[in-house]
């Protein structure tokens, strides 16, 4: 079945700096269940790209397999997407990014796609600090195969049928910090106010920006006793702070209590203002991020917001010392050493 959205939009929709309305950032109608957290995340991606005035065609959306991996069809319809194979989004994104460093790369994955079959690629894309936004839409279960527990399901969490998960969960945010990710954030699909600036910061961060988003599965994992239900996540969320951009005209209205402010300058020169809630925690200090995550876990809290950022470490292109020109723009002249060099090479084998 093909889902096409009505083309009509209100004629006075606000435009961004490059003259686009939100419409230019939308995708096709979602085929996910009504109320799915993933659709909210798609909407925040649309909002974030609109607000940053990104050319939609200069974004590439790459995903694996699963409910979450279907979402790239539902946002940024003018961007190329690649719905690849299960758990392998990071490698496809790595190749794509190497081919053209001048685009924004969105990697969209789920908890099954990342924490189980794709764990290896998740680990290694972090090691390489690929310049991309890596979003996990985390609902603790396998939705497309009808609700089996995933590796991020908390021990003791109850499934819809009442089955209690006996296994320890994989904590993706902690793991990302541990692995040296240069941007780690955690959020909730129901908290657009927090998620939009996080995604904007993630896009502007040069390097791997990992966002673990709790995104409840309304159909299979939204029952009492589940630790990934809307109610549970709302009750156990603990925001680390709020994010804002300088210079951005309109500041985000923070709905959290006041704390201290930190300014972080990103690679592209923009400044991100982080409004911290916990004074003892420094988002540029990995140890304090690890500490904060472990403490939250001990208290059954879901720590949200920007947890860690490192703006110094170079991305994969820096590490490999690649040219400033996109590989996919290079032709024979730049790529082929030519016959004369070949004769020299031949001589070396005589």
């Amino acid at each position: 079945m093909t889902y096409l959205k009505p083309l009509f939009r209100h004629p006075k929709l606000p435009k961004n700096k490059i003259g686009y309305t939100l419409k230019e950032y939308e995708g096709t109608i979602s085929t996910l269940c009504a109320g799915c957290g993933h659709d909210s995340i798609s909407a925040t991606i649309v909002q974030a790209c609109f607000e940053l005035s990104i050319e939609p065609h200069l974004v590439a959306k790459i995903s694996g397999i699963g409910c979450s991996s279907k979402t790239p069809a539902y946002f940024l319809g003018n961007s190329h997407g690649f719905n690849s194979v299960h758990g392998r989004m990071p490698s496809v994104a790595t190749g794509a990014n190497l081919a053209n460093k001048d685009m924004v790369y969105f990697g969209v994955s789920g908890d099954g796609d990342t924490a189980s079959i794709g764990m290896g690629q998740f680990v290694h894309v972090i090691r390489r600090n690929l310049n991309m936004v890596y979003i996990v839409m985390n609902n603790g279960c396998y939705g497309l195969t009808k609700g089996q527990d995933s590796a991020t399901a908390d021990v003791g969490s109850a499934s819809k049928s009442g089955h209690i998960n006996p296994f320890q969960p994989v904590d993706l945010a902690s793991l990302a910090v541990e692995l040296g990710a240069t941007f780690v954030a955690q959020s909730f699909s129901g908290d657009k106010q927090q998620l939009v600036p996080l995604i904007k910061a993630a896009i502007q961060h040069k390097g791997l920006a990992f966002i673990n988003v709790m995104s409840p599965c309304v159909t299979f994992n939204n029952n009492p006793g589940s630790t990934k239900s809307y109610d549970y996540v709302r009750e156990h969320m603990h925001a680390t702070g709020t994010l804002d951009f300088v210079p951005e005209r309109e500041a985000i209205n923070a709905s959290y209590a006041a704390g201290t402010d930190t300014a972080v300058t990103l690679h592209d020169g923009t400044t991100m203002r982080l409004h911290k809630l916990a004074p003892e925690w420094d988002p540029e200090d990995r140890l304090s991020a690890v500490n904060a995550l472990q403490q939250a876990r001990a208290k059954n809290e879901i720590l949200t917001g920007l947890l860690y950022i490192n703006t110094v470490f170079g991305d994969l292109h820096d590490i490999l010392n690649t040219t400033d020109r996109a590989f996919n723009t290079l032709a024979e002249k730049a790529l082929c050493p030519g016959e004369e060099q070949l004769q020299t090479i031949n001589a070396g084998f005589r």
Partner: protein, 621 residues
């Protein structure tokens, strides 16, 4: 006719022998043995060295076999005329491997045990260790120069020109001149010992010729790496595995030399050592999808792991280049031995209905040319293309035609639409077959602000890349992919014929590294008045010329290096050939196939069927 005769056919005594070196892995023997082979090459004499090495870094037995052939035969030959035995572990087996009347050169510092004495071979004892200990003080040097001492000894026994060896050493140690003098000293120790103690030369020896001409001596993996640089690859993603690792290393070596941004010195290439073969293939697909040329190199176990991704690239129609340096399988098999046993795996890699173009190089020159060609083919066909080389071709040095590049050649990027073309057309459909060749138009991400974007996926979709589970749309797509396969038949390299028109009712068919030995076997059989027509396959899908060859012969021997006759199965399956007329000639012991082995199997078969070549009985067909 008796094959015994064929095997013991009289050999010219000049420039015609096999020498084997039995060494301990990790003792520096490789460079000494290469010096020996390269010196023969420099004397203008065709030479084929082969490394027979263990899956080990230090300590296990390793052999280096050098075939010298005035006639220019480059396949392996059975029967060792001269064996340099410097490995106590394998001594007994090594001595047994020498042909009657052959020679054993050994280290006589210690006396040979009586059970190692054979009456039918000659023993040439040289106190290598003693000479090394007397003349060198450093323990590592003593070990290394022991190897050079035997090269010196052989140079007198076989008449290698001293000046050639000296020049090679000077080239090898350019920049490290201090090492030249002790190497020359070691050479002379061996030379003088032979002059003082033995008659020389032996009854087979070398004589300068002009048979090498402009040829080069290089291994296939180096040629593949270079071919990828010339073919325009910018991304090499790989995972270490013998015997393919040196493809990636060669790519990086040449790229670091010839692929630097002239303005900044930055790299016009990226080499990523991936976490596994799956990721390597994923990166290749991602890069190709985004408009760069990318490749990976692996061996059978890696191809097994890449299956899912290969199927994705086939179905989503993303170009990809894969170099499969085959080794003996299944499973880990014999990782340092050669085979042509990934044919079935590669041809149909992945679940569902899939087929992939394969190219079969037979020489380093073809490794270079075909690797570059793979990129054009993959782009034109928007599908994975696999270069089927193997350990023998990839890791051994081969005498080869030199590499050539046509300066006017342009990369063929296939059907890719740019912004202007998108503007000029109506609705863009990624999977529309506009020309009837099954090949649709691609767009690279980022081409146009509002047109040409689509979602690439491994799921079914319609002509406009919109997800669909409509049966008719799915089937149309599968049929179009089959149309594309028909197009592939017309653009992959055609087979090589060894005769202008059929001379016989019997044919032989071979490919890849079975080529040299098959060509030689053809001549051996001709000497015995068995006339065979021959064809060399260079690619899959098979062209009409191959089909015509098989149809026009009553019997075709298919020569390959695997147990199951995989190419034969592919021929039966793809061209609906009668299996009864296709006879397998196989070698699957992990050693490169030899001409004698092929000739013997063919003549045995014909003898068994009581068929003389000019009068093939109908019952045979």
């Amino acid at each position: 006719m008796s094959m015994q005769q064929a095997i013991s056919r009289p050999r010219a005594r000049i420039n015609n022998f096999v020498a084997r070196f039995a060494n301990v892995n990790g003792t520096g023997s490789a460079s000494a043995n290469f010096l020996f082979a390269k010196a023969i090459f420099r004397m203008g004499i065709p030479v084929t060295p082969k490394n027979i090495f263990p899956s080990n870094i230090q300590g296990l037995p390793t052999w280096y076999e050098v075939r010298v052939s005035e006639k220019g035969y480059l396949g392996r030959r059975e029967g060792i005329d001269l064996l340099v035995a410097v490995n106590a572990q394998s001594m007994k087996q090594d001595i047994e491997s020498v042909r009657t009347g052959g020679y054993l050169v050994y280290d006589s510092t210690k006396k040979l045990a009586p059970d190692l004495i054979r009456e039918d071979i000659h023993y040439l004892g040289i106190p290598m260790m003693e000479l090394a200990n007397e003349n060198f003080s450093n323990p590592r040097q003593r070990q290394l120069f022991k190897n050079i001492i035997y090269v010196g000894a052989l140079s007198v026994l076989l008449q290698i020109e001293f000046e050639v060896l000296e020049t090679l050493l000077r080239e090898q140690f350019a920049g490290k001149e201090k090492l030249i003098a002790p190497n020359i000293t070691a050479l002379k120790l061996g030379m003088n010992y032979v002059r003082d103690h033995f008659d020389y030369p032996l009854d087979f020896y070398l004589e300068r010729r002009d048979l090498v001409r402009d040829k080069i001596m290089v291994d296939g993996n180096t040629a593949c790496g270079l071919g990828a640089v010339y073919g325009g690859a910018t991304v090499m993603a790989w995972y270490p595995i013998t015997p393919s690792t040196s493809v990636a290393e060669a790519f990086e070596k040449f790229a670091s030399q010839y692929r630097l941004d002239p303005d900044t010195g930055k790299h016009l290439y990226a080499v990523v050592q991936a976490e596994d073969e799956l990721a390597a293939m994923g990166m290749v697909i991602g890069a190709n999808w985004n408009g760069a040329r990318a490749l990976t190199a692996t061996s059978g176990p890696g191809v097994s792991l890449m299956n899912e991704f290969i199927g994705l690239a086939y179905f989503a129609e993303v170009p990809a280049v894969l170099i499969d340096v085959q080794r003996a399988g299944p499973s880990t098999g014999m990782p340092t031995r050669t085979q042509q046993s990934d044919i079935t795996l590669a041809a149909y890699a992945s679940h569902g209905d899939t087929r992939h173009p394969l190219l079969f190089p037979a020489s380093p020159e073809e490794c270079f040319r075909m690797t570059a060609a793979c990129f054009d083919l993959a782009d034109r066909l928007q599908t994975p293309v696999i270069l089927m080389t193997d350990l023998d071709l990839g890791m051994n040095d081969h005498m080869s035609a030199p590499f050539q590049w046509d300066e006017s050649r342009k990369y063929d990027r296939g059907k890719v639409l740019n912004k202007e073309e998108l503007d000029a057309m109506g609705r863009y459909g990624r999977y529309l077959d506009n020309e009837g060749d099954g090949i649709p138009y691609r767009t690279y991400p980022g081409t146009h602000p509002s047109k040409g974007a689509f979602t690439t996926r491994g799921t079914s979709r319609d002509e406009y890349a919109v997800y669909t589970e409509d049966s008719a749309a799915y089937q149309r797509n599968m049929d179009r992919l089959q149309t594309k396969w028909e197009t592939a038949k017309k653009i992959v390299p055609t087979a090589q014929f060894y005769q202008e028109s059929n001379q016989s009712e019997i044919g032989m068919l071979f490919f890849g590294t079975s080529t040299y030995s098959s060509e030689e076997a053809k001549e051996i059989l001709e000497e015995k008045e068995v006339q065979l027509d021959a064809i060399r396959i260079k690619a899959f899908p098979f062209g009409t010329e191959t089909e015509a060859f098989i149809r026009s012969h009553k019997l075709v021997f298919i020569i390959e290096q695997n147990r199951d006759g995989q190419l034969r199965s592919l021929i039966i399956n793809e061209m609906q050939m009668n299996p009864k007329k296709l006879v397998s000639v196989l070698n699957y012991d992990g050693m490169p196939i030899t001409a004698d082995h092929i000739a013997l199997q063919i003549s045995d078969y014909l003898k068994q069927k009581n068929a003389v070549p000019h009068d093939l009985s109908e019952t045979l067909i």
